[in-house]
């Protein structure tokens, strides 16, 4: 990469022009059209600036000015893998599927790679993502190379699967844009545990398109644990049909900048969606959780609980919108976001939002921001617990609430470990 190459949005567009004949599916007209349309949207909008309402509190300036390049070659050979969280796992390195590192024997459905099995993906790819309104989805559509593709047949109990994403530092700024398609047939079920690790000057820009059919259940746990040099911008689109449920639990504990954006639509009666998460940031980090929940059918329920803990000079953002359509009578929607500030230099910005067009609804949201409760601290200390330990107990209790409702013990264990690891690292740094 020469120093003269254009930065930011122009750089990505230039690389799309250069790579478009070599990207997976380059000979498929439907995919070329999809990519070209996305490129046009991205060219028109570029990276969102803080003047865009949804990006009011998160500045993509550092990304818009950097020179990223997509890695052109596959990373070969052995790679240190994180400790497994599930018996089966699909491993992606720099966004590309590595069958040799994956453990998929005995999985009761087919685990596909988007690059390899593109033909089967045609009816589903791009069905949910909105490149016209989300520039990051446009960037992903324009340049994605691979991703996990699951199409679990009706009634199949999928059990546990781990999705591992590893970014290997090539020694220069690089970007990858995995596209994951997760589809559950009627009555099917799956617990997906996602682990993201990575190092180096890296932009990880995944897009998920998740379709949960009638009566199906998807539990999606995410542990974002990349190093503090990585930019993690993920966008999830989920649609949940009648009687189906989608539960998302995210622990965002790494990266210089994390944006965890979820768009979920409840499209059939009695569908349910839980979105929970804990996001933590230490000195120099920025974490942002943005959710948009569409109640587009009657009798649906949604629950959201998000926790933020900030130390050092860091910034946390929570934006959550619940939109209740006129047809969505008897909606039950609840959202809670709570933030704990542990430093004088931290800042939290919170914007919960309700937009309601149906009258027979029960919707509420709550938000609290504050320091550790002095009374609780005093109570613990009066019982002989040293201050540091007392603080740790309170922070732990605060964070664990976000994953309390996870029923799968393996997943809950993994999420809890991710939370505790973060806090113990803070202790070591302090």
């Amino acid at each position: 990469m020469t120093a003269n190459a254009p930065a930011g949005a122009a750089g990505f567009l230039a690389r799309y022009e250069g790579l478009k004949d070599h990207l997976p599916g380059a000979r498929k007209p439907w995919l070329n059209t999809l990519r070209a349309d996305a490129a046009a949207h991205f060219a028109a909008r570029g990276f969102p600036t803080r003047r865009v309402e949804q990006w009011k509190y998160t500045d993509l300036g550092p990304i818009a000015q950097a020179h990223f390049a997509e890695p052109l070659t596959m990373v070969e050979g052995a790679i240190a893998l994180p400790v497994p969280n599930a018996p089966h796992r699909a491993v992606f390195v720099d966004g590309r599927f590595r069958g040799d590192l994956s453990t998929l024997d005995g999985v009761p459905y087919r685990v596909l790679s988007l690059a390899r099995d593109l033909a089967e993906a045609e009816p589903h790819l791009g069905a949910l993502a909105r490149p016209e309104s989300e520039p990051l989805a446009a960037l992903n559509t324009m340049l994605f190379e691979d991703g996990l593709f699951l199409d679990i047949p009706e009634g199949v109990e999928g059990g546990l699967l781990e999705l591992v994403s590893i970014a290997v530092d090539p020694g220069r700024p690089f970007a990858f844009h995995p596209r994951h398609l997760i589809r559950l047939g009627a009555g099917a079920s799956l617990t997906l545990i996602e682990t993201a690790t990575g190092r180096g000057q890296c932009l990880h820009n995944p897009v998920f398109e998740i379709a949960v059919a009638e009566g199906a259940t998807l539990t999606h746990g995410r542990m974002l644990q990349e190093e503090a040099t990585v930019f993690h911008l993920s966008t999830i689109y989920a649609t949940i049909a009648a009687g189906g449920s989608y539960d998302n639990f995210t622990v965002a504990a790494g990266a210089r900048l994390t944006r965890n954006e979820i768009h979920a639509a409840l499209t059939g009666p009695k569908a349910a969606c839980h979105m929970n998460g804990a996001q933590m940031a230490a000195d120099g980090q920025h974490v942002d959780t943005t959710t948009a929940l569409d109640h587009a059918a009657p009798d649906c329920a949604s629950r959201q609980t998000y926790k933020t803990v900030l130390t050092g000079r860091s910034r946390g953002v929570f934006q959550g919108k619940i939109h209740v359509h006129q047809i969505a009578q008897r909606t039950d929607g609840y959202q809670m976001n709570q933030a704990l500030l542990l430093s004088d230099e931290a800042e939290i910005d919170s914007k919960p939002q309700l937009e309601i067009y149906a009258d027979d609804v029960k919707c509420s949201h709550g938000a609290t921001v504050g320091a550790l409760d002095a009374d609780s601290l005093f109570y613990l200390r009066s019982r002989g617990i040293p201050e540091a330990e007392a603080k740790a107990m309170l922070v732990e209790a605060f964070l664990h609430e976000a994953v309390e409702t996870v029923t799968d013990e393996t997943l809950r264990g993994a999420l809890t470990r991710a939370l505790d690891n973060w806090w113990s690292r803070q202790g070591a740094a302090a």
């Binding site: 500030l341 910005d349 009258d359 029960k362 919707c363 509420s364 949201h365 709550g366 938000a367 609290t368």
Partner: protein, 498 residues
């Protein structure tokens, strides 16, 4: 048939024309030519015999306004406004000093009578000399400043207030009599180029009220301004400035009405409050501008900038608003909490019925240490109404120990309306505590059943529940106005439900 449906049907049959203040007064008026340009700004300034500094001030505002764009971020929809198609000055032709009620222009007198302004004040409003010093029997006196289209027509109880050193007059009069105070404070809370509508107001404001409460004085009565838009094709651009000096207290009320017309009329006011050390300002609004008819035709565009600065330590500003009128409301009474231990409060009831739209809320800027704010907002949507709470709580890095509590509740009546909540919370201070709660629901069937079982009619039951829903806000209003406001709530919801 569910009880609510029944109510909706019963009440929909009631005639819709329930706006009782929609008459027009036929009175000889003086207008500025239609349109908005520098000449008009100069015309208004000359008409008011203003000093040069104020004309310059207006012209700077006008220059800024020309470069600004109308805000589009609020959740309200309306066709483009033609700012050239209105009179920016309209005043009843004055006949100097009528000596008794018989001499007052009978039309003006009738207007006040119809609006229900108490008799004693009414005499004063019509400009009868000498009546102001006699307090009305058996009731708390309320001093009133009446603004009729572009000008203040009269102010009551001036003499009585003067004994305490309180200045309560129209802002035009204050410019002439107390220029040093006006110059010192005008535009210091809402700068000329603060936003599009504030800049417009700064350029063309024609009148409004001015209040100064001296050090240590507790204002002995409620001060009130009654705004009336009467003439066609006019806008009302009033400017209110209230200064509470150290250790003083004032409670101020404003009311507003307008005739029913098919055209939309613009009301773009600016209110600035300044509270110095230990001072308290309580500002209450019962906003009842013409809301338009049941099809959404006509009505006032109420685009208002209200802001108070708690400059002094331990000062307090409390906003209470009952918003029942206007086709569109765009209004965010705010508090800048600079002084240490200062307190900001915002209590609001906003009702949208038929095709009314309201985007309203508050901003609380916590700057000084230990500043506190409370926000209680109750939104009620009926018919096709759209009601948005939009608020900001910002805690600066130096606001150690700051505290905010926010509660926003929305009530939906009927399935064609909308209720939205858009709060922004920004906190940079570790020792601050911010809490926000919001709920949206409709009137529960069991509550209705309970009331009906005790012999209340459906409409009474809905009225009772709505009043209960708003109680936290209504109890903040001065008593007489609280009674008024309760009636107003019921009337506003007529034609859709109780």
């Amino acid at each position: 048939m569910p009880a609510v449906t029944e109510t909706i049907e019963t009440v929909q049959s009631v005639t819709e024309s329930t706006y009782k203040w929609g008459f027009e007064t036929d009175i000889e008026m003086e207008f500025a030519p239609k349109g908005l340009n520098e000449e008009i700004v100069r015309f208004i300034s000359a008409k008011k015999n203003e000093p040069d500094w104020l004309l310059e001030w207006r012209l700077r505002a006008f220059a800024a306004w020309k470069t600004m764009e109308e805000p589009r971020w609020a959740a309200v929809k309306y066709p483009p406004i033609d700012y050239q198609d209105a009179h920016y000055y309209a005043a009843p032709k004055t006949k100097p000093g009528p000596k008794s009620l018989d001499e007052v222009d009978p039309e003006l007198l009738k207007t006040y009578a119809k609006l229900g302004i108490p008799l004693r004040e009414q005499e004063i409003l019509a400009g009868v000399e000498g009546a102001g010093s006699v307090p009305a029997e058996g009731r708390m006196p309320v001093a009133v400043d009446a603004v009729f289209d572009s000008v203040s027509v009269a102010t009551s109880y001036k003499e009585r207030l003067g004994k305490e050193g309180i200045i309560f007059c129209s802002i035009s009069e204050a410019v002439q009599e107390h220029p040093e105070l006006v110059k010192k404070y005008l535009g210091t809370v809402v700068p000329q180029a603060d936003n599009f509508f504030a800049a417009l107001n700064s350029a063309v404001f024609t009148d409004g009220s001015f209040v100064y409460i001296p050090k240590g004085v507790r204002c002995p009565m409620e001060l009130s301004t009654y705004f009336r838009i009467n003439a066609k094709s006019t806008g009302q651009f009033e400017r209110t400035l209230i200064i509470a000096d150290e250790g003083s207290y004032v409670s101020y009320l404003e009311g507003c009405t307008a005739p029913m017309r098919d055209e939309n009329q613009l009301h773009a006011a600016v209110v600035e409050l300044v509270a110095l050390d230990d001072a308290t300002i309580k500002y209450s609004t019962v906003q009842n501008w013409y809301p338009g008819d049941a099809e959404g035709k006509g009505g006032i565009y109420n685009f208002v900038t209200k802001r108070g600065a708690c400059r002094g330590a331990r000062s307090k500003i409390s906003w209470t608003q009952v918003e029942t009128g206007s086709a569109i409301t765009w209004k965010y009474p705010s508090c800048i909490l600079q002084g240490e231990d200062s307190v900001g409060e915002f209590y609001s009831v906003a009702i949208t019925n038929n095709y009314q739209q309201a985007d309203t809320g508050t901003k609380m800027f916590h700057i000084g240490p230990r500043t506190k704010s409370t926000i209680v907002s109750k939104g009620i949507s009926a018919g096709h109404g759209q009601n948005t709470y939009r608020g900001l709580v910002r805690i600066g890095a130096k606001a150690k120990g700051a505290r905010n509590f926010t509660q926003c509740d929305s009530l939906l009546i009927g399935d064609l309306c909308g209720a939205h909540t858009v709060p922004y919370i920004e906190n940079r201070c570790v020792s601050a505590k911010v809490e926000h709660e919001a709920t949206t629901s409709r009137i529960a069937e069991d509550q209705l059943f309970y009331c009906r079982q005790r012999g209340l009619t459906q409409e009474e039951a809905v009225g009772l529940i709505v009043n209960g829903f708003c109680r936290e806000v209504l109890k903040e209003l001065p008593m007489e106005f609280a009674v008024e406001a309760q009636k107003l709530l019921q009337i506003s919801l007529e034609g859709s439900v109780g």
